[in-house]
Symmetry: C2
Subunit: 451 residues, 2 copies
Amino acid sequence: MNKSLLALAALSLSVPAHADRADLALESDTIAWDFVEGITTEVGPRMPGTEQEARGRVWAMQWLRANGFANVADEPFDMPTWVRGVETAEVTAPFAQPMAITALSTTTSTGPEGLEAEVVYFPTYADLQAAEEGSLAGKIAFVSHDMRRAQDGSHYGFAGPARWMAPSLAASKGAMATVIRSVGTDSHRVPHTGTTTFAEGVKPTPAGALSNPDADTLERMFARAEGQPIRMKLVMTPRDLGMTRSGNVVGEITGRDPSLPPVLLACHLDSWDLGTGAIDDGAGCGIIAAAAKHVAAQGQPLRTIRVLFAGAEETGLWGSKAYSEAHLDEPIYVGLESDFGADRIWRFETNFTASDSALYAELAASVARFGVAPTRIAATGGADLNLVRDQKGPLIDLQQDGTRYFDLHHTADDTLDKIDPVQLRQNVAVWTAVVGVLANRAEPIVLSSGN
Amino acid sequence: MNKSLLALAALSLSVPAHADRADLALESDTIAWDFVEGITTEVGPRMPGTEQEARGRVWAMQWLRANGFANVADEPFDMPTWVRGVETAEVTAPFAQPMAITALSTTTSTGPEGLEAEVVYFPTYADLQAAEEGSLAGKIAFVSHDMRRAQDGSHYGFAGPARWMAPSLAASKGAMATVIRSVGTDSHRVPHTGTTTFAEGVKPTPAGALSNPDADTLERMFARAEGQPIRMKLVMTPRDLGMTRSGNVVGEITGRDPSLPPVLLACHLDSWDLGTGAIDDGAGCGIIAAAAKHVAAQGQPLRTIRVLFAGAEETGLWGSKAYSEAHLDEPIYVGLESDFGADRIWRFETNFTASDSALYAELAASVARFGVAPTRIAATGGADLNLVRDQKGPLIDLQQDGTRYFDLHHTADDTLDKIDPVQLRQNVAVWTAVVGVLANRAEPIVLSSGN
C-alpha cells in the first residue's frame, strides 16, 4: 500500500457527515426492494422497443411520482428493434439429442424449417481466427471459449469476443450459422443471450448460445465421435421490427440551487426478454432511486439529484446515446451508474482521484465503514453515462461484487429470488453516503487536463 | 447410541475382507464415470417407451458386453407412453408476463390454442383440500406447496402430494387445469416434471409445474393484485401414444455356483426427456455396474451378480413390474438399488438388521471406513426392486446424500456436470465392499418371520 492510500485509510476512521441516513439504509431500506420486487412482479421482462418496455416506463413513472420525485418524464426516442422467435437446437448425428439454445441479437432467422449442417469445433476464439478463409462454407461454427468467475467481472472482456465477434468472423469464413458456448459462469440449462455485431460487408447469419452444460456435451461428442461428422439442426426465427419507440425515464429530487449542475444517477429500465430484469437492471434503478430518496430525507440537497432510467440499453445503448444527444449542452456535476447486479459494493473508482484528492478522500471516508475500498483505477462510467463521457465530466464507479453476476446475466434466471436483500441494502447505504456528499457540495470537481 | 450400535461401531474397526478392491475404487474408479458420461453424451434423454429409450438399451447392452458382462439381454415389455408437446404459460392480467412451465405426465392437452382462465391460489395442498366442491369450476388451480432440503430426501414425501394428487383433487372440484409449484429445492427457471395420477372417476385435465422462481412471482402477484382476478393462459400439448415397447436390460457376472440365487443390483435406464438422465439414473447404472466389475476383478464370486437396468421407471415403474412378473419364481438372494443421484452414501439400512445381525455387522464393518453409518431404519428397497419385494426377500438400501438431489430431479438440469467424480467413486467403493461380501456368502439371509 502506498502512502496516499494509507492516508485514505486513516481518513476513513473519522465518521463523515450524512452518516445517519446511510446507516439507516444499511439497516432497514425497503425502497430499493420495493422497486425491483414491484417491476419484476407487475411488469416482468422489458425487451427494448417493445410494448413490455413501454409498460415498464409507465410503471416506473408512476412509482417515481408516488415516491416524491419531481419532473418525472418519458423522453422518447426511436431505435431498431429485434425480437426473439422460436429457438431450438438438436444434434442429429451421430449422437442425436436436443440442446438448449437462445438466439443472439441481432442475428437472422433460419426460417421455420431450420437449417442442418456439420459442426466445426473451435475451443477458443483464437482457434476460429486461425481457421482458413472459406473453410467454413456450408458449416456451423461452434466456438466454445469459456468464461471464469472474477470479482471485478473482468473475464467478460476475456470471454466476450466469442459472443460479440465470433458469429461475424465465422460468417466471413463461410459459416452458415454459429453456435457459441454461453458467455456465463453457471452450469444450468439456461443459455445466455446478448448482442453480437456483424462487421461491415459480412452478411449476418443465424447465431445462438448453447447453455454451458450443452456446450460441455457437444465438446464430449467431439471427443467420442472418432472423426465422424457431428451434425446439428437449428431452428431460430427472430425478427427485425424496424424502428420502434423506446424512451428514457427521468425524475428529480430538486436541489436548493437549481442553477447548479445536477448529480446524475443512472441505471437502465429495459431488460432481456428471457428473465425479468431483476439483477439487470431493476436492482440498479431501485438502488439509485432509494439513495436519492434517503439523501432527500435528510434535508433538501444543494444540487438537484436526477435519476435516469435509460431505455434500450441491452441491444445497443440506444437510450444512453439518445440522452446524450438531447442534453449535451446541459452540464452534469458528476455521473454514477448502478448496473452490475445487487451484490455488495467492494471498491470504488473515480476519474478525479489525483486531480481532486480532497473530494476523493471525503468520498473514501464516507464509504469505508461499509467495507468499500479505494483504488487507483480510473473510473470510466457505466453504459448509460454517455452524456457525462461526451461532456468529459466527472465519473464515479461504485463497483459491485461480480463473482456470481455472470451466473445469471442475460438468462431466464435473472429473477428476484437471486437478489440478497442484505447486500441490496449495503448498496443503498453506499450510494446514500456518496450521493449525500456530492449533492451537498458547492465546489466544482477538479479534473486533470487530460480528461 | 444403544448397545448393539456400539457393538457395530466396535466391529467397524476391523478391516474386512475384500477391502482392497473397494479402496482402489475409491481412489481411481473410472467405470461408473465412463458409463454415465457415455450414455449422457451418446444417447441423452431416454423417455420411457420412445425410440430414444430404445437407443439407450442398445447402447447399454453394447457397453455391458464390452465390459465383460455375460447373458446380456433386453427383456421387452409394453407400456402406455406419454410424450411432451409444446408447453408455455403466461399471466395475461393484470400483470402480463410469461412463465416457465412443464407438463406432468399423464395429463391431457389444452389443444394448440390453449386455455385461459382465472387462477385460484392455494398456498398448500391442505388449502386445496379445504376448497369447496365445485368452487373451481372454470378456474385454474395454483398449488404452491413448497419443498425443503433434507439429507434423506424425506421432504419429497411431504411436498410430493402437490404433484401426485393436486391435479386430480382440483379437477374433482371443477378446475379446468392445475399449475403447481415445482416439487424441487432449487431457484432456477427449470421446472420439475414428473407423474401425476387422476383418481378413478375424475376426468384428467391439463396440469403443469411452474419453476420455483415463477411460482414465487405468481404468489407476489396475488399479494399485489388487491383482489383483481389473475388470469393465466396455458398451452400444453402432450400426447398419449398408446402402448409402445420398452425393455429391461440385464447382464451378469456369473458366479462359481450358478445354482445359488443371484445378488440383484438395480437402477433404471430411462430418464425424463428434459435432462439427459445423469443423476436420474445414469449414475446409478454406472455405480452398480462398476461395483459388479470390481468384485469380479478380485476373483469369480460364489454367486452370480445380476445387474438390472430397468426400463420405463419414470412414468410408472413399468419395467420393475414387468421384471417381477417375468421372474417371480426365480429366487433372488438379496436386492439393492442405486437411484438417488451420485452424492456420497452416508447411511445404510437392511430388512434383516435384527434377524441376521451377523451379516448386518459384517456389512457395517465393510463400509464404515467410507463414512457410512448403520441405522435401525428398515430397508424397503428402491422402485425397481418389485421382484424382491414380491418375493418378500432381503433388501439393502445404501442411502445417498439427497441434500441437493431435488435441485436437479426431473429437470433440464439433470446433466453430467452435476456429478462430482469424487463422490461418485465413494459410491462405487461402498457398493464394491457390500457386493463383495454378499456375492461371496454361501449362507441364506435370515429374515424375521414378519417379512
